[in-house]
């Protein structure tokens, strides 16, 4: 009963039109218990969450209702990007609900709902929904990708806006 076909072999991103949310769907050729563990065990989480160029260090990690979490990603130049939030619901191999804040923008917070689905044959699917407080924040999150590598995008827009200003 093995099948190599996947509905979501690559991460699928959907930006909702009606609520300021982003939905990510991804399938794994691994049991749901392992994928759940990789999201809730801090030592494992630190091994995959940050980009290769960044070193991720876990601060707090109390993975239960009301528990807090934090981690810091540091680049080669020593710039640190800090993230924190709290766990609201943790149901083994099924669900993690948590809040997420980038410390560089402390007024912003997103509500993260991560569901795990057992697909059988040692495979699973996760659906991660991030709900933000406005479409503006949601689009900002998409545009920034939260971290690095965005400079050229901003610069291009900068040029465009500067060109607009100069015509006034």
């Amino acid at each position: 009963m093995t099948s190599n076909t996947t509905t979501h072999p690559e991460t699928e991103i959907v930006a909702d039109d009606t609520v300021p949310a982003v939905r990510m769907t991804r399938e794994f050729n691994a049991p749901v218990s392992s994928v759940f563990r990789a999201h809730t065990d801090p030592a494992l989480y630190a091994r995959w969450i940050g980009p290769h160029e960044l070193t991720t260090t876990i601060g707090e990690w109390d993975c239960r209702t009301g528990g807090e979490w934090s981690y810091s990603s540091t680049d080669a130049d020593g710039n640190a990007y800090d993230f924190f939030g709290s766990f609201h619901e943790v149901r083994p191999n099924e669900l993690v609900v948590q809040t997420f804040t980038y410390a560089g923008f402390p007024d912003g917070v997103s509500l993260e709902r991560l569901t795990f689905q057992d697909l059988g044959s040692g495979r699973c699917r996760i659906v991660a929904v991030s709900l933000l407080d406005s479409f503006e924040s949601r689009d900002m999150m998409i545009a920034s990708g939260m971290e690095i590598g965005i400079k050229e995008g901003y610069e291009k827009l900068d040029d465009l806006l500067a060109a607009e200003d100069s015509t006034d």
Binding site: E10, M24, F28, L44, D139, I150, Y154, E164
Partner: protein, 123 residues
């Protein structure tokens, strides 16, 4: 340090946060239009539509020709190409993260499998 055009970007997203302005953008994507034309479907004054257009103009999303008296508004598609690229990059970053998770899961699987055991050619 910092993001060079954060203010510009904020203006773009603030401009698009309003449903009427998003609707105007969608309509301008089809064709240029004057304030009068844009105001038609809405139950609002020409002045209100002009105000919305001004916000879109300030954000660099819309330009208006200066010569013609009717001054049709024009959508700057380049900005939207940029946003499409951002979404693609966001997708690539997420995928790269999950590819790292794939690798970790493979490693975990190898750690869990006894070195003497061979479960056969399951993939």
């Amino acid at each position: 340090m910092g993001l060079p055009a954060e203010d510009g970007l904020s203006r773009v997203f603030a401009a698009l946060a309003d449903p009427t302005r998003r609707d105007i953008v969608v309509r301008l994507a089809t064709a240029d239009a004057t304030v009068n034309e844009l105001a038609e479907p809405y139950d609002v004054s020409l002045q209100a539509v002009s105000k919305h257009l001004k916000v879109l103009e300030d954000a660099g999303l819309v330009t208006r020709s200066r010569d013609a008296q009717r001054r049709p508004a024009h959508l700057e598609a380049e900005v939207f190409d940029l946003m499409k690229k951002w979404i693609e990059r966001y997708q690539r970053q997420a995928e790269a993260r999950y590819v790292r998770l794939d690798q970790l899961l493979t490693e975990l699987d190898e750690e869990d499998t006894p070195s003497t055991g061979n479960e056969g050619a399951t993939t």
